[in-house]
């Protein structure tokens, strides 16, 4: 469960997030909508520890993680530009987190291959990011985040680079991933249809404040 308590973020005297308070139950697929520049990405960055809030607390499963480093939070993050690691092959991208944690090569290969199969990217394991399409990069970015076995997955407009025909396929992939990995997901989107198809909890950011629109 994610709990945000009175979360505020100010920069240069301007309030971007103001007293954001919300509770997202475990295994929920929450979608967050709002106009451009309203602070959605900032909220995700604060959640995964890339920015420090001006005030307020973040609790994950009841544990206060506000002052923890990003690596200590157990949160997977897929940014809008997917942020592929330049010069690393797909297998190295997916195996990045397990390798960092010192996983044995045999087990590492097993995890990479299992995720690659699950995301349909097994034939791409030797490719560099420059040789991938937008849809393939999106799958690699998701597999890379899930290889770290996070409890919470934050997705920042992950389908924005996909065309209409690929988007429906990606939506069903995200639904499958969420249920198979028993994840809590917070997904930022501008698309109402994407939100309707995926979300079990609908949130909206208005002028730095968070409103719960509906629960599925």
């Amino acid at each position: 469960m994610i709990q945000l308590e009175q979360l505020t973020w100010k920069v240069s005297g301007r309030t971007i997030l103001e007293n954001v308070t919300v509770a997202i139950p475990a295994n929920t697929y929450a979608v967050l909508m709002g106009s451009t520049g309203c602070g959605k990405t900032t909220l995700l960055e604060i959640l995964c520890g890339l920015r420090q809030p001006t005030s307020g607390r973040i609790l994950l499963d009841g544990v206060d993680v506000t002052d923890l480093e990003p690596r200590e939070r157990g949160i997977g993050y897929v940014p809008q530009d997917l942020a592929m690691f330049p010069g690393l092959r797909v297998c190295e991208q997916i195996g990045f987190a397990p390798k960092l944690r010192g996983m044995a090569p045999a087990e590492l290969n097993q995890r990479v291959n299992r995720l690659a199969e699950q995301f349909g990217i097994a034939p791409l394991l030797d490719r560099l990011p420059d040789m991938l399409s937008g849809g393939e990069k999106q799958r690699v970015a998701l597999a890379r985040a899930l290889a770290a076995q996070p409890k919470l997955l934050l997705l920042d407009e992950p389908l924005s680079a996909l065309d209409e025909s690929m988007r429906a396929e990606a939506v069903s992939l995200l639904q499958r991933v969420q249920s198979e990995h028993a994840l809590t997901v917070l997904h930022v989107t501008h698309s109402s249809s994407e939100a309707a198809a995926l979300g079990t909890l609908h949130l909206r950011m208005v002028a730095g404040r968070l409103e719960v629109e509906s629960k599925g």
Binding site: G49, P70, R71, I75, F85, L100, R144, A148
Partner: protein, 260 residues
Amino acid sequence: MPLNRSNLCWLALALITAGYLIFWALLLGATAAYSTTDSWLQVLRSPEIRHATFLSLVTCSVAAGFALLLAVPVGYLMSRLEFRGKSWLDAALDIPIILPPLVVGLCLLIFFQTKIGKVIEMAIPFTYQISGVVLAQFVVAAAFAIRTMRGTFQHLSARPEDVALTLGCTRFQAMWHVALPAARRGMVAAFCIAWARSLGEFGPILVFAGATRLKTEVLPTTVWLELSVGNLEAAVAVSLFMVLLAVLVLVAVRATGEKV
């Protein structure tokens, strides 16, 4: 191609570029025409000049290597971290670029006469030594390498490093595993610029390391020494040799950089 206003603009810009390149070609051509085969042979046979060439190659490579080792962390810091007084620090890092070269040499000479300098010299002697040549080349070349590395990191998105942090990296690991591999070409360019800058360094070396033949004499010192005794032909031959050397190394390093 019809000659419209846009094409005229490109033509004017191309003429300016060509004019500059032609001016340089004329400069080098005139210098080359001044040189004779005999003076080239003299250069190749001279043990002093062979020593100066070898010393130049070694000291430039060592100085450029150290400059790169400094430029990577400083460039990363300056491109990724926002802090109070950053613009002042940025200006301070450029000081070696704007200082007259002789002043840099003088600063080094005076520093190694202070108590701290003398303690350092007890461990590693610098003044009028080969290590002094490297240090004089390093202090100026490092400023250029830092500028290059800062530009390189600024052009690279910080987002992959952010993702690496969420995947379990410390800041140092994110820099090591993600930022540095992405900055390979910038590192080659920074090394290349530092090397070329070191090869042309003269003022600080003359003041701080001296111009002792077969000891601290590097190629620019040779040009000066030959000029000072009126041996213009040898000075010209060494100058052309430096041009050739610089072009060869730059082409080689750039070719390697393309494959990195």
